[in-house]
């Protein structure tokens, strides 16, 4: 069924347009990577803080307020550019196990990020007083983001 959807999508006028104009895919990929750079570096800074590795001079809540709002702005741009890439090459993405893995990792990390932000907004000292949980969640989040970038790059090699 997904195969049929891909075939249908690949024959829509929009997809055909993306397929025929050579520069669209590299340009959209470039925009996608630049957005990944913003999200990845912001989240790495926060995760390293949660792991007590960097920025320990400041409370966790300040780092959350500084970095997390960014990702809620940039992730929608990532979803948009990602959707354009899917419309252009549906089978390359939707039938690809690396792409599917990437999506599962992405949803997981977004849920974790939402929880981290929510707990902190209700109680600013929440993560400062729960060091073990903070270290584990920071490490998990960082690992998930590394996994997302890795799976994303490997889509091209399936």
């Amino acid at each position: 069924m997904i195969q049929e959807f891909c075939d249908w999508l690949a024959n829509t006028p929009l997809s055909l347009k993306i397929q025929t104009i050579m520069w669209i895919i590299p340009a959209v990929q470039t925009a996608h990577i630049l957005c990944v750079a913003l999200v990845m570096s912001s989240m790495a800074m926060l995760d390293l803080r949660l792991m007590q590795v960097a920025g320990t001079r400041q409370p966790v809540s300040r780092m959350i307020d500084r970095f997390v709002p960014w990702i809620w702005c940039v992730v929608p741009i990532l979803l948009t550019t990602g959707t354009i890439l899917i419309i252009g090459e549906p089978s390359r993405e939707l039938l690809n196990p690396y792409f599917r893995t990437k999506m599962v990792l992405l949803v997981t990390v977004l849920v974790i990020t939402f929880v981290i932000q929510r707990k902190s907004s209700r109680d600013a000292a929440y993560w400062d007083t729960r060091k073990i949980a903070s270290i584990l969640l920071g490490a998990l989040s960082l690992l998930l983001w590394v996994g997302i970038v890795t799976a994303g790059r490997w889509i091209a090699y399936y």
């Binding site: 590299p26 990577i33 750079a37 990845m40 570096s41 912001s42 800074m45 970038v149």
Partner: protein, 163 residues
Amino acid sequence: MGIQQLFAWLENTSVAAAIRQSTWMFPTIETVHVLATVMVVGSVTMLDLRLLNVAYRDRSIRELHEEILPWTWASFLVAAIAGSLLFSSSATKYYHNFTFRMKMLFLLLVALNAAFFELRTYPRVANSDRETPIPLAAKIAGAVGLLLWIGVVAFGRWTGFTK
């Protein structure tokens, strides 16, 4: 030895041949290169946006500079090593590749912009706190840096689409 012969030699080293012939080595090193690159570009963008007065306005430039740039440099080192390994696998091909040459040119311009900022502009703005207006030279350095990095990433990505 001319540069062409140097790259021909590089391409024939056992490391380069191994990367070229293996199915998994190139994508794996490339993944490391991408991860390190997004950290370089993302972290330096934070500083550039601060210089443009767009983001992190509650922090002084010195604070951000001291906190962020060590991570930028560490990531750059990783990106450069991984990138050199990728380059070695098809050195002569990349040497003749237009988009790859443009990427190197943009990296050179990035370095010049950064060196000028560090030597001339940063000493003047380092002690400015969050209330101080940012001088034009610092704003220009931030804007130029952002645009040049976009160029580096664009030409880097484009290189992957060329033969």
